[in-house]
Symmetry: D2
Subunit: 280 residues, 4 copies
């Protein structure tokens, strides 16, 4: 929430503060009254409600209220941002048929949405996180900058694996959310699979580029991908060759690779808040 909360911070006056407990109640009530057909629409309904329906507190005055007039501010919530995670389930298969009321969690990835509503408009960021994906060949890393601390050998065939997080920004809110989600994920998987990778940076950028080129409603894609290194184990002390068959999947340290792709004709995100709620 954004709004005239200075009195709450400065002197502990809560009269403009809608408690997080109330926000929780609202989330549950809207799950029933509005429903959760898609997390994007549910988030829009919640965000609109907080900005539109909640009456100003008795001492609210406006965003320009300064430290000297904190007792005089007078207005309601000015901006709301809703983040949602969706866990995927699939019907259990029993005797060859999908079961009526039994479900299994499926896959690793979590679908995400971040919806912001404020005086400037409505903004939806779709996304996913923790999509664990690996290619067992078709990945190189060579020709890189070398300095006195460089010991990494070049390679033209390596395992590339990551737990992908991606966020995509929509223009507009009239979107077939489920269809677009499926398509965006399929495009990213396709690019990851079919592009001969010269670096994770390149792979990420082309994943984002393809999404923007093929889905008109998406104007920006941001990707974060830990490079989950798979090192070939040296089996020569035991008289064994190991032509890329046995690897150790290392935990730490790893490189965290990021990419951001913005459509040429798209406005930049006017507010970092759209993508990330945290102050830091």
């Amino acid at each position: 929430m954004r709004g005239p909360f200075a009195p709450a911070y400065l002197v502990g006056d809560q009269s403009n503060v809608l408690p997080t407990d109330t926000q929780k109640n609202t989330a549950f009530a809207f799950a029933k009254s509005v429903g959760v057909d898609t997390i994007e629409n549910y988030g829009l309904a919640l965000a609109r409600h907080f900005v539109t329906d909640v009456e100003p507190g008795p001492t609210a005055a406006g965003p320009g209220a300064s430290r000297s007039d904190v007792t005089a501010v007078r207005s309601g919530i000015e901006g709301a941002r809703i983040e949602i995670e969706e866990y995927a389930w699939e019907r259990a298969v029993v005797d060859g048929a999908e079961h009526d009321h039994t479900w299994l969690r499926t896959g690793q990835e979590v679908r995400t949405a971040a919806v912001t509503v404020d005086a400037t408009g409505e903004y939806v960021i779709g996304g996913l996180k923790d999509l664990t994906i690996l290619k067992s060949t078709g990945s190189e890393f060579a020709g890189f900058l070398k300095d006195e601390y460089t010991t990494l050998p070049e390679t033209h065939d390596r395992v590339m694996a990551t737990a992908l997080s991606a966020k995509w920004r929509f223009e507009g809110t009239e979107v077939a959310w489920d269809a677009v989600y499926a398509k965006a994920k399929a495009i990213m998987v396709r690019e990851f699979a079919t592009l001969q990778s010269l670096a994770l940076q390149q792979t990420l950028w082309h994943m984002g580029r393809a999404v923007i080129e093929e889905i008109p409603s998406i104007v920006e894609v941001r990707l974060v991908a830990p490079n989950k290194h798979h090192f070939v184990v040296d089996l020569s002390p035991f008289g064994l060759e190991n032509p890329g068959e046995v690897f150790i999947a290392a935990d730490r340290p790893y490189g965290l690779i990021e990419a951001q792709v913005l459509r040429d004709d798209a406005p930049p995100a006017h507010d970092a808040w759209l993508f990330s709620a945290g102050l830091a």
Copy 2:
């Protein structure tokens, strides 16, 4: 490992101790030389190697070595127990076809194996863990014991969900491991889905019973299942009915329900070590 390790504990004499680093090397080398067609066979190969192939240390003597003759013990590793976890992957689908070298992690569950080889024989425990499964109806909990601290209302329709862990003990080692794994999992899912549940205890027991009845090579099943409570949210303060539609999935506290099913004609596990390596 079990063996003549008293000198290592009592006086720090490592002459009978095969380092964990060597064990790690062996695991990698066997991944290449033996392969990992199934984790059960791979575990058997490793366990047999440690018990059979490793030469006794210079001071090993036997399992009867007592504190007073620790300098005289003389024999090799007497028992080895290998625990393995297998993470499942599926081929990525690109343009409608399974891709040649790109993979996605699938589902939540982890396949497990625990293989023990010692002088008395070879023992395999198959299993899985973290199979997240939920049924949205077909579960009751009523008629339970009540005392002065009981406030739980009876219910004849609730959500039942868990993250199942199961272990099954085989008789013999000539088993079609992959086929049996798929069948055991399918049976447990079927029973979870189709049995009208009167309690998680009952559901677990019938899951185990069905596995034993339908898979001759399995003689014992042990199940552990946290009761992941889904509480109906009270929406009446907001003028809304909630006939089992909106739930809060609580984290803690929860009941941890366990079941153990042993075939009538099966010997009990001769050694708790078969199922669990830990001392405590």
Copy 3:
């Protein structure tokens, strides 16, 4: 809980089952009515209550009830086992003095208790877990068994670190729990610090031995310690020596070392349930 629960498993009859929800309520109520001076005494009170105070259900009959007479069993809860974790807090220091009502979590370790009450008596297992401890010298590992897969060099000076879990079994329940806890921890830390370690096995065993020798009420100690390897980083490619100054703290794989020390004149734990509730 142990008791006549066969009907619950076999036919879903809950009449002898005290719900986990009731157990939770009881835990909260006892926190008020009995108090939590020590977790050991609180656990004893809870376990005694479940075994002594809870009235049998209408269909309880006895532990010998078999499958054929599940409708005739008739008796109450026969055994209760309570596991508790205690998180440590210390008073915040403000302007040089301990503050009246502000607290900080202290250290990493968690104090544990496992209390069992059944027809054979009352048993208390004290303990701690996740005590992160490291010695920067005074640790060796040499003279170990070598085979064709051994590549580890011997060392007479290494970092040894672990996240210790320990459980100790008491004889009797008239114990100054807090004082004994502090003493047991201090003894284990002292042995870890002062013993020239020839292996983690040796260190663990001597930690347990010292506890048993110096605290008469403790008759058995079990320790589990992951060997948290700190590898010296090879800085020679950069023209730097690294005489045990820069390490990489590896996550996986690691050796899990265990030790069990039993006083000569002590009875063995009559039931694995005392130390561990899980079936597997």
Copy 4:
């Protein structure tokens, strides 16, 4: 790292990319050659090195390189940002004296640093995270905005607890890092303890304000604090009063409260990158 990495993203040309593996090597080498007296100074040394010492790659050209001339860019790394976490240890006490070479992890909090060096200057963000702190009284929450979804009762005495994360921005790099860290932490703990809290927002703001007022080198403080709710358990069904003695520490959902305090005469952070590396 920031720099002329467009070719890496667009066409997979790594010639300006210093591998993360090299960065890792450099971190280890500097731990030896520079040392880690404080994480802030160590971070400064690393960041300066990457920006100053690394030779441009053969195809680097400059930050203005656009998509059309990616093959012609020609310059080195333009900005480096180093994030570091420091885990605290204290000497083990053996027989009343601090031991020479044995250490225990202390407390929960992790000290953090984020150091940025680029063409505009050098910036240090100090901080901590996961400082688990609780006050058992001296906290209220009342007078808040109420709407149709509000059910929370007002309270003038509650438990307030959090796992605090804080980041503070320095002006300049000539700072007694360790002394300032200790002082900043002590100030925040003091304010948390002594301010009668009317809301977590107010508490956070006053913690930040006090740091800025008492430490001249710090010009901005950002705090993030999950409101770890402790709910009074209703014991009335069991005939017991519970005047704020027995609580349930809930996991989810919780309110995430944030505050940002900027000195009036301080420039705002010119770049979100200073506080947070992630794109999203």
